[in-house]
Every structure is written in C-alpha cells, then in structure tokens.
Amino acid sequence: MNAPGKVEATTWIGRSVERLEDPPLVTGRGRFAGDISFPHQLHMRIVRSNHAHGRIVGIDTAAAKALPGVVAVWTAADIADVPPVDFREGRIERLEPWRQPVLATDRVRYVGDPVAAVFAESAYVAEDAADLVTMEIEELPLLLDARDEPGEFSPGRSTEAIVLRQGYGDVDAVMRTAHAVVDLELSVGRHSGVPLETRGAIGRYDASRDMLELHGAAKVPHRNRDLLARMLKRSPSSISVHEAHVGGGFGIRGELYPEDVLVCVAAMRLGRPVKWIEDRREHLICANHSRQQTHRIKAGVAADGRILAIDDEFWHDQGAYVRTHATRVAMMVCGILPGPYRVPAYRSVGHFRLTNKTPAATYRAPGRYETTFIRERLVDAIAHRLGIDAIAVRRKNLITKEDMPYHVPLEVLGEAVHMDTGDYAALLDKVLAAADWPNLQAALEARRAKGELVGASVAMFIEKSGLGPSDGARVSVDTSGAVELVTGGASIGQGFETVMAQVCAETLGVDYRTVRVVHGQTDRIAFGIGAHASRATVMTASATHNAALKLRDKALEYASGMLQAPVDALAIVGGKVVRTDRGASPSISLGEIAAGLAPTSKTRGSREPGLSAEGWFDTEHQVYPYGTHLAVARVDRETGGVTIERYVIGYDIGRAINPMLVNGQIVGGFTQGLGGALFEEFIYSERGDPLSASFADYVMPTAHETPRVEVILTEEAPTPLNPLGIKGAGESGITGVGAVIASAVEAAIGMPGAITALPITPQRLKRILDGRR
C-alpha cells in the first residue's frame, strides 16, 4: 500500500487532450497496409476490363503464365466455387442476381471490372504479366445515365434492380389543394471519398492452425470476417481479420471488395501469403463511388410558407453492381429527406438503377449530403416563389424543441426515425448571430451594388449517428496498473483510441495515457460493428463506460476489504483507490488490486480471478444531432470561379468527449464537402471510359482552396439514449456543404433557381452566367 495522496478528481471527458495515436504516425513508425509483409509472399495484380460493357469471348493468359516469376494467373473459371461478393448485413435474396462476381464471369460491366488475377514473385513482375493477358470482348449496348430507359443487366433481368418507396399521408390530395406547388429537377454529381492511403489486402493462411488471416482491414473487420466465412464456407472462428493504421476511410475503405476475397482464396490455394496494394488509378475506377442521383421533387405549400407535402422521385445511379451495402444509400435518401422540417405528407420513390460505371455505395454522410442539397434547394425555391425570406420559411417549418422526441413514420438504416432531442431554431440563431447576419447582408448588398457577385446563405440538416444495435468492450488492468481496453470498434484515423481512453479513464479514475486501446482485431474480441455511421463514440464509448463501471465496482469491492472502509467512502484517483472521507489515509493501487485478484493470490477469496470486466451497450435508436452551415461566396464573373470567403458551422453534439477531435472531424468533413460542391466529379466518355482516373483529373480541394472554418460546437441537447449523452460527429462537417454553397452562389449571382446541379464547376457556372444553359 502506498503513502496517502492528494484526493483530486481527474476529468478527461470534454477535454481537448492530445491524441494517443500520434507518436508513431509523426515519427514515421506507422504501420499501414503497405507496411505489412510476410516471408515468401506473392504479389497480386488485377487485370481489369477496358470495356464498359461486353460479353467475354475469350481471355488468353498463356503469355502471362510463361513469364518468369509468375506463379499463377486466374480467371473466373479458376474460382468457380467462390460466390459473388455478398451483402454485409446478411442475405438479401431478391438483390442477389446483381452482386459483383469476384472475377467477371460472362460479362464485363464497367471499365475496371476485375477479369483475371496474376500472382507473382514481385509487384513489378505481376504488373508486367498482367500486361500480357489479352481478352476478346464483344461489345454490348452501354448504359451510362440512370435517367435513361433501363436495359438488360443479364438475360431476363432489368438494370432497374428495385424501386424503393417510403412515405406517409395522402400526398396527391394535399398537392391538389395546396396554395402553390413548387417543383424542381436537381442532380448531385458522382464523387466519393478518396483516402490518402489506397486500399490494400494481405491474405495469409496458416495451415498448422487452419487459420485464415486478412490484414489491411478497416471500418468493419468483424462484419467482413463473417461475410468471408459465409462466402468461403469456413467457420467465423477460423478467420481472423486485422486492422492496422488506416489512412482515411470515409465509408468507402474497409468494405469487402473482390480483391479482399481473392487474396484470401489465393493464400489458401497457393500456400503462400498474398499481398495486394491498390494503385491510385485502380482506386479511382474501382473503389466505391457515391452520390450520383437526379431528383424530381415537388412541394405543396401554404401561402405563409408552410410545407404541406413533399413528393420526390429520384434516379439513383448505382453503377455496375450492387455491392456490400445493397440499397442502403438510396433507402437512406427516402428516409431522411424531410430533415429538420415538419412535413405532413411525404412520398419518396427511388429508382435504384445499374449503369456501366464503377459501382457506388456509401461515402461520408451518405444520403444526407444529397438530400440536404435537394431539400434546402427546395426550401430556397419555396421562399422565392412565395416572396418570403428563405430563413423565415425555414423557421416556419422547423421541428421545435417542444415537439421532441419527434417520430417520423420513415426508416433509416432499418430503424424508425426518432429525433431524440434538439432545438434547431436556437442553433440557427447562434449561427446567424456569429455571422452578424443583418450587417453581413447589408455589407454584401453594398458590394453587389458596386458590381461584385457576392452572397450568403444558410442550410440546415439533421444527422443520424450511433448506429446500434449493440457494442461490447472488455477492460482489464494488469499488475503494473496498465489498462487494456479491447473493443470491437475500428480506427480510421478519427482519434478512436484517444476518445475511448478518455471515457475509460474518466470512469476508472486513471490517466488516459495509461489506457491501451485495442480495435479492429477479430481474434481479440468476438463481436464488433466497427467504425461507420458516426457510431464509434456513441456505441463503443458507451460500452466502454459500462465496462469501466463494472471494473471500478470490482476494484472498490476488493479495496474495501483491504482498506477496512465502506465502498461508498472510496474513489479511484490517479490509478489508486483512496478514501474520500478522510485526509491522510492508506491507499491501494489498481496494479496491487490486480495482483490481489490473481488466480494464485491468497487474498482473492472466492472472487472471480483477474481485475477485468466486460460491458455492453444496447440501443434501439440512433441519435439525431443537427447542424446549420452558413457560407459567403464570391463569384468571378469572367471565369466562373467561386471563392468561399467565409464559412460557419454550428453543430450540436450533445456532449463532446474531445472538442479538438470533433473540430477536426467537422473541418475535415467540410473540406470533402467543398470537393463535392465545387470540384470533384467522376466523368466518363461516351464509351464509358473513366476520365477522372488520376489526381490531375479528379480535382480535390487543397489547402489553397479551403477557407478557414468557424465551428460553433454546442452541447444544448445531450441525448437521453446513452449514459454520457453523446451524439456522433463524423459526418456533420460535410452534410450541409453542397446545399449552402449552391445557395450562396445563387445569392451571389442573383439568379434564383439557377443552380440545379453539383458540382458547380467554373465552366458550368460561366454558362449559367452567360445564359447559355
């Protein structure tokens, strides 16, 4: 037992403490997929289709196989027993025919479609050999626009895989009697998350233990383990999936792709580890794209600006196959489009259509970036039509604090929409106040009068975060007092380890730097749902809190006997159990308690051995944070260029564990949103060739193009749905960007209704300015 210490509560939650993750990352000792190698490994190179749609007549691999250093070249026939890449959340029988084969079987459906796989002694030889594989393709009719008539996916199957519907109320009746009906056609361009680290997968089979390992995982390692088990007909416990450092996820990295399956199958069949590292061109034409939709939306409104009904029909450009997410993005669009507004009657019809382009799936704020653009454009159009200020129209329709909790008969990610808490109008007020809105508008008006094209606007949205249904964590203390927290979560660079350590340390009364956080290792914990849908802090931190509480109880119970003190007179401070009812008194450290609870310890008594505990957190509902973005845009009349002069983001997070990291999430998200608003777009030629296949052509914003972002982080509406009141933050910075920039640009050019599509490139904006639409 140690000398008595000063009794002082440590508090870690709510502090912008430094990231635990940084020392290896900033000293060049990180371990990304490219850093992982095993003895005797082979290198895989994928031969990809150069045709956007065609029938495979023949593939000649003879020359490639003959190249020295080549071990094997596979086509679909070599892995006929491996099924197409399945859905992440389990079987969806009616969508199965549209899944992507691991290697193309009878048809190729996009440029980039994997046709053959080369396995060789070096990455150079693999690429040389891949060059020697030739294919004969008989071209089939192309479909490059989801608005066109659907075609044939396979004999007897349409490219319109499914039509999704959500809604409530008698929309048609309301439209007939509404004061006015506003209708618009709006489009969001095809863009996606482009992490600095491309994908990578290293498969390894240990025959001595009959264990299959997949390294280079991210986002959802446990889900991918289960999915691989189903596809390869192995038990989940015979597969382990491992996450290392991840250079950005954004929803697209970490899903199970054909290449992940191939390295696993090859590792088993070729008896050597197999490494695949994606190159940038492959990334831009093969990793999930996102966002591309066209909406025809109508709103029936009252004369005072109240929305009476919304009727939306949209065309979702899914690309060539239905990947692991199935219809998740389009279904989210149906469920979340009404956003922060009361909409008495609503209908959403989504045409989920396949095209001969890269398959699409989730990208940071899936469904929300798109719908916030659509909905906020609609609100602006209503305001213009009725001659009412756009902010007044928003206020008129906002769900109020008194309405909470607010239920909408719609579903998002398979759960009913249930807005738990929030005061949307109050946050709007804060953002307007921060921008000094009346004076800002007056200043912009004066500049416009002098001929400048400047304007400001706001966009409002709700987020959803903390996807359940459940998360577990196991916390243990060793005899040195070091804490290990094992989670089923994942770190995609967001500061997961730091945040979990802060929550664990807060509850346990230790320094957060003593907590080692394990994530993304399926052999360390049986369950996990990973890091997506802004869920990690809500779900895994809540489970961590519960586990730490249990461990705390266990430690205090043991210490109570040792210190001869009642449990309620004890607290853990700085890693030691101390009495709170006296000044100087003996204490016992957590390390000593761990030693006392060792299986061989005489003081353990009948207690379960070890100072460890497992905690779980279950939830039926996601939580709904909310935000408002405000932008000031300046347009160059002669070039069509747009400069964002000012940007304010107001966001209510319920409770911030680490405000610095939340700020980082918001600003990073904003920058990606700026890309989708003004810069980024995957373009195809008439033949279906991808024209945005390098960083020279896929134009992402850099520091030069990114304004300083003012973040107003509020904690007015902690959620009652988890013990710490947390809401997620991962996607809030991106959600409103397309919407508010479109609106601000429109205000700048003084042409209501002119901006109907993202991205607003200078070429397009110049055409609009010239009236050459």
């Binding site: 002669e638 069509g640 260029g641 030629s685 020279a696 134009v699 914003p701």
Partner: protein, 288 residues
C-alpha cells in the same frame, strides 16, 4: 503503377549523352531530367521507354548565368532556382512571379526549366514565357549544335522542332530593359493545376505610350504563341482600361481554342479575354 522494364544510363558529359541519344532514340530512348512529367506517365505505362538517358549527373548542365545580355538556363536547372529572382531587373522579378504557378513545391524542387520547354505541354508557364520573351533554344546532338528561336520551336501539343537525337542543353532568355512592365495571369481549377488559359504581357511606357508590347497566350491552343492582334491594339496607346480591354478582346477573337471534356472553346475564349486583361492590368500596377 510500376513502370515497364527500362535500362538506365548515367552519362557524365553532354557528348556522352548525345552519343547515347543518337544510338537509343530510334528505339524510343528518352532523356530523363527532372522526371516530373515522364515518370508519372511511365508509372501509368502510358510511356514505356526501354532506355532512359539520365542527364542529372552532368554538372555542366546546372549552369544559370548571364552572358551577352541573356540569362542562360542549363538543362538541369530546377524550377526552384527561380523562387528568388536569379537576376536583377524585370526579368528576374517576372521569373520569380511565374514560377509560383508551376505545380507544387516538391515538383518545383525536381522538375527543370528546360525539361518543361522540351516537353512542350500547352499549359506550360515556361513555354509561354519563352515565346513571349523570344527565347533561344540551344539544341545539341552528335551532329553538332544549333540555336532555335522560340517562334520556330513549338509545333503543337507536346511537339517541338527538336530532332529525336537532339538534347535541349540550354534556353537563353534576353534580359528585359529597365522599366519593362510585366504581368502574368492564369486560371486553373486549383492552385498548381494545369492552367486552362494563361497570358503573359510585357511592355514599356515612353512618353505616356505603350512601346514594344508583347502578349503571349498559353493553355488555350496546342502551343503558346504571341498574339499580334493584341499587341497591335496596345502599341502607341496609353496604358489603361481602354487599351487593355481592346487588347483582351483582340486576343479572344484571335485564338482558336482547344476543346476537351470539361472546357468548351467558348469557355476558353472567355478565359483568354479575362487572363489577357488581367495580365496587362498586373503589368500596369507593377509599373506604377
């Protein structure tokens, strides 16, 4: 992203380099200087030169010196050498202003002035500058050496008057007389991107009138060129909005812009008007 196999040669002298080039050029042997254009195309396997003649070890090609009223820039002088004016007067200031538009810092520490000129990308800032100022290109081969004037050098998109066995060993830029006003303006999607259009303007003012105006436009046509119509609109006029607007209109009318998937000819023409006027305004402002 792994280049196809190639053989690497490291000559120590220009004579060795041009001898190798004479032998290997017929087999698509290529010169490697900064590698900032060639190496990425090799990584994409869009270029597969089986031989690379690496001139980086030839110390004589690192020369950057004033000789006979000209700034001589050797084949291995990096873009970064112009981050600060390499010579006093208007030329040095112009070079230091233009270099900031070339790609990004790491690229500028490796890529070379002469490499850009020999590569002849339509959107190269140095090519536009070379044309505007009337540079001299020194081409050397095993057959001998010759000087090619800038207006005879550029032939089309990435096409020059260099024969396949010729190495561009040096570019010479005439020093600009004191009092020369210079301006450069380009428009690109992002800082550091290939410009969609750019203009470089120089002139002097004598007795309140524009003298020796030069206006070159880059990025809009297959190769940069001086726009005589715009220069005529300036000569003898007082510098100011009227002359600049007239010159910009003439430049826009004179160009035959390229089209691509993102940029229509009309858009490029509009940009030529904007960048020409802005380059002239900048020159005017710099002169005041």
């Amino acid at each position: 992203m792994k280049p196809a196999p190639f053989r690497h040669y490291a000559p120590a002298t220009v004579d060795e380099a041009v001898a190798l080039l004479a032998r290997l050029a017929p087999e698509d042997g290529r010169i490697l200087a900064g590698g900032q254009s060639l190496v990425p195309t090799m990584a994409f396997r869009l270029a597969r030169p089986p031989h690379l003649i690496d001139i980086n070890g030839i110390t004589a090609l690192g020369r950057l010196a004033v000789e006979n009223g000209k700034l001589a820039i050797g084949a291995c002088v990096r873009h970064a050498a112009f981050h600060r004016p390499p010579v006093d007067g208007p030329l040095g200031a112009l070079l230091a202003r233009v270099v900031r538009h070339i790609a990004h810092y790491p690229i500028r520490t490796r890529g070379t002035f002469c490499g850009s000129v020999a590569n002849a990308d339509p959107a190269s800032e140095w090519c536009t500058l070379a044309v505007a100022l009337g540079a001299e290109m020194v081409a050397q081969s095993a057959r001998g050496s010759r000087v090619i004037p800038a207006d005879k050098f550029f032939a089309g998109i990435m096409t020059t008057a260099l024969a396949e066995d010729e190495l561009l060993t040096e570019v010479r830029l005439p020093l600009l007389p004191a009092g020369t006003r210079t301006g450069f303006y380009e428009f690109s999607r992002r800082a550091g991107d290939f410009a969609i259009a750019m203009a470089l303007a120089t002139y002097r003012v004598e007795g309140g009138k524009i003298v020796d105006p030069r206006v070159a436009v880059g990025g809009a046509e297959p190769h940069p060129r001086r726009i005589a119509e715009a220069e005529q609109a300036l000569a003898g006029q007082a510098p100011g909005p009227a002359a600049f607007t007239a010159a910009a209109e003439r430049a826009a009318a004179a160009v035959d812009p390229m089209e691509d998937v993102n940029n229509s000819a009309d858009y490029r023409r509009d940009l030529v008007r904007a960048v020409t006027r802005r380059a002239l305004e900048q020159a005017d402002k710099a002169g005041q």
